[in-house]
């Protein structure tokens, strides 16, 4: 056996140099913008920054005030209601639509286009249209009243108790199409043989979906969940366009709280404290997912 001859290992720094160069934009964005921006935000959330950032620390004051503010509490509640319901409904509706589309139907393309097109429209547009449709004087309520049910009431945008559902209707309209697409892609990816096996076993269709197919589509559900969840945390435009947070502050959401306090109240510290709380929420959602998604499998 020849002895180890010495050809040194080249420097690790220059290994994959092109790749490192190509990833510079991504690394900069990740480090400077996302990480840097986040750290910056968190640091300044402990200060008394007003219109301009100022490093005058006040400890947890901003957080104490935040959690004492009824508007923040309402915002959080709204986000929870909107978030949970919109998760559930978009998954359920999206999946049901996908399941219907998967029945070898005619005009599949037409239906798919119809379900998907709202996704092309911005939240601003979505909010405007639904504001219009839900307007009690012109919209659904007045139509139904004019048909004879004169006591019919459906004015979600002007009723503090249900306004968040009015927003939900619009949000679902905009977003379920994409969920349907993802689900459909997932369904198409299921091994045909599973369907055959369940038919031979005599398992009714709905049971097959619920007990076999859905559990098999876990990865698709997770991807979808993350997509919806990231959208939910960010919900802002829709509320602004539809209700501006009203009536009163009944449909306020955290993202709007952040924005309003940063710029309208000129209290950056308060806004940063609120956004830090949002980031914490996001972290709670995303870290387990990221762990599942990227922690496990690797490829060389």
């Amino acid at each position: 056996m020849t002895p180890h001859s010495s050809a040194g290992r080249p420097s690790q720094l220059f290994k994959n140099l092109n790749s490192k160069i190509a990833l510079i934009p991504m690394m900069l964005v990740a480090l400077v913008v996302f990480l840097g921006g986040t750290v910056w935000t968190v640091v300044y959330s402990f200060t008394r920054s007003g219109l301009l950032p100022r490093l005058s620390f006040v400890g947890l004051d901003q957080y104490e005030r935040l959690w004492a503010a009824p508007r923040w509490i309402i915002s959080i509640q709204n986000l929870a209601i909107y978030g949970i319901l919109s998760l559930i409904f978009s998954l359920v509706i999206g999946f049901v639509l996908a399941a219907l589309m998967d029945q070898k139907i005619r005009f599949e393309n037409t239906f798919r286009t119809i379900f998907l097109y709202p996704f092309a429209l911005s939240f601003i547009v979505t909010g405007l249209v639904w504001q219009w449709i839900l307007n009690p004087e012109f919209g659904v309520q007045s139509i139904i009243r004019s048909l004879g049910w004169s006591t019919f009431e459906f004015d979600p945008l002007y009723n503090s108790d249900i306004v968040i559902y009015g927003i939900l209707i619009a949000g679902l309209w905009q977003g379920t199409g994409l969920v349907m697409c993802l689900m459909l892609a997932g369904l198409r990816g299921i091994d045909e043989d599973i369907w055959k096996a369940s038919r031979v076993d005599g398992i009714p269709m709905w049971k097959t979906y619920v007990l076999i197919i859905i559990p098999m589509m876990r990865p698709v559900f997770i991807t979808t969940l993350v997509l919806i969840a990231s959208g939910i945390v960010k919900v802002y435009d829709l509320v602004v366009a539809q209700t501006s947070g009203g009536p009163g502050i009944a449909s306020e959401v955290p993202a709007k709280y952040v924005y309003d306090y940063m710029f309208q109240a000129q209290n950056l510290g308060q806004g940063f404290a609120a956004s830090t709380m949002m980031l914490v929420t996001v972290a709670i959602i995303i870290i387990p997912w990221a762990y599942l998604e990227f922690g496990g499998k690797k490829r060389g």
Partner: protein, 388 residues
């Protein structure tokens, strides 16, 4: 020189008024580049601030007179107008003096006030009351009494838009008009939390409770949509600043015959003198800086003042102009002004932060009847206690 001017004056009356400003400025050989951002100051201010702090400032920008731009000035981002002011003798001509005070920070002047706005007006639709078969009220109390009759006639008694600042403004108006000058000053100037929690304030909250009942069912967002309800007789009245008058005017309505205006809600005839002012960010371009000075001069120019304020329905910032063309309501306002019954506006007294907290409270209070006046008062007192 082209000068970009940002503002949030986009409603019909406002736009007409801006046109006058632009005309005046263009006449100096410069060019007004309009940068209107619709959707009230709440939408527009963040954008203006971002641009100024982002290092891409506009030539001039509207702010509410008061503390909104204070930090920008302190950070040295705003142009010092002292020279222009001295040349134009602003100190002597601008009335009331508090307007210029608000522009003055550490002895230097940073803004050009453009108009005086007062909030304390009740606008009434004569037609609506005729339809309801009651006389046009002469003050707030009569208005409240007429409420049921209006409701019976299918008329919305009080129009109140959904934007938070409208509810806040209406409430502040109730404080001055029902509670009087002293209460107002104690609470907002001295930030006296005890007074805010006291029985006098409790009465105001009761009144506000009545107001919100009358306002229930307005179902519009923008102030001018609410005003439009009064203009068209769909609503009996609206508590709104003098700028509402521009809308009546634009609709061709005549004060006195078609509509009635009651300054100080017909009770305590005190007006606050807030208003709009233009600030001029520091620019590197010398030519632009000169144009900025020109614009500042234009803004306080007597002719422009008259033209602008007639269109906008607000009062001019100088007492030496001829307002013979002014209508009934404006004259009423001028009378009050002449009497010296003038107070600073909340924009001048409170920080935007406190204002925002107040807005949160009152927009919630007016929209949601499950919040009792007592609970609201307690929260109000807390806000005043921590106000700055």
């Amino acid at each position: 020189t082209d000068l970009e001017v940002t503002h949030w004056w986009t409603s019909g009356g406002e736009a007409a008024a801006v046109k006058e400003l632009a005309k005046g400025f263009d006449a100096t050989g410069n060019k007004w580049v309009d940068g209107a951002i619709a959707g009230s100051g709440g939408t527009a201010r963040p954008i203006m601030i971002s641009r100024i702090t982002g290092g891409d400032p506009m030539g001039a920008t509207q702010f509410n007179h008061g503390r909104q731009a204070q930090e920008l000035v302190e950070a040295g981002l705003m142009r010092d107008l002292t020279a222009v002011a001295e040349k134009g003798k602003w100190k002597d001509i601008i009335k009331p003096a508090s307007l210029l005070e608000s522009c003055t920070i550490k002895g230097k002047i940073y803004c050009a006030p453009v108009n005086i706005h007062s909030w304390q007006w009740l606008w009434l639709s004569n037609e609506a009351f005729k339809k309801a078969g009651v006389e046009v009220p002469k003050n707030w109390n009569e208005f409240v009494a007429a409420g049921p009759a209006l409701q019976k006639a299918g008329i919305q008694p009080l129009a109140l838009g959904g934007q938070p600042w409208q509810a806040t403004g209406a409430f502040d108006t109730l404080i001055i008009s029902l509670g009087g000058k002293d209460l107002y000053m104690k609470v907002f100037k001295d930030k006296d939390a005890k007074a805010a929690a006291g029985p006098e304030m409790a009465a105001i909250f009761k009144a506000a409770n009545e107001a919100r009942k009358l306002a229930k069912g307005t179902n519009v967002q923008d102030w001018n949509q609410a005003t439009n309800m009064v203009v068209t007789g769909k609503a009996g009245g609206q508590i709104m600043g003098d700028w509402a008058q521009g809308e009546f005017q634009l609709a061709g309505k005549k004060a006195g015959t078609d509509y009635t205006c009651l300054p100080g809600l017909g009770l305590n005839q005190y007006l606050t003198a807030g208003g709009d002012a233009f600030y001029f960010p520091v620019l590197k371009d010398k030519a632009k800086s000169e144009a900025q000075d020109k614009l500042a001069e234009t803004i306080v120019d007597p002719k422009v003042q008259v033209a602008f304020n007639l269109k906008k329905g607000s009062l001019p910032v100088r007492g030496d102009v001829d307002l013979s063309a002014a209508n009934d309501c404006m004259k009423k306002g001028l009378e009050v002004l002449a009497k010296g019954n003038i107070l600073s506006s909340t924009d001048q007294l409170l920080s935007p932060d406190t204002q925002k907290q107040k807005e949160d409270l009152f927009s919630q209070f007016f929209a949601n009847e499950s919040i009792t006046p007592e609970a609201a008062q307690k929260r109000f007192a807390d806000i005043i206690a921590s106000a700055n």
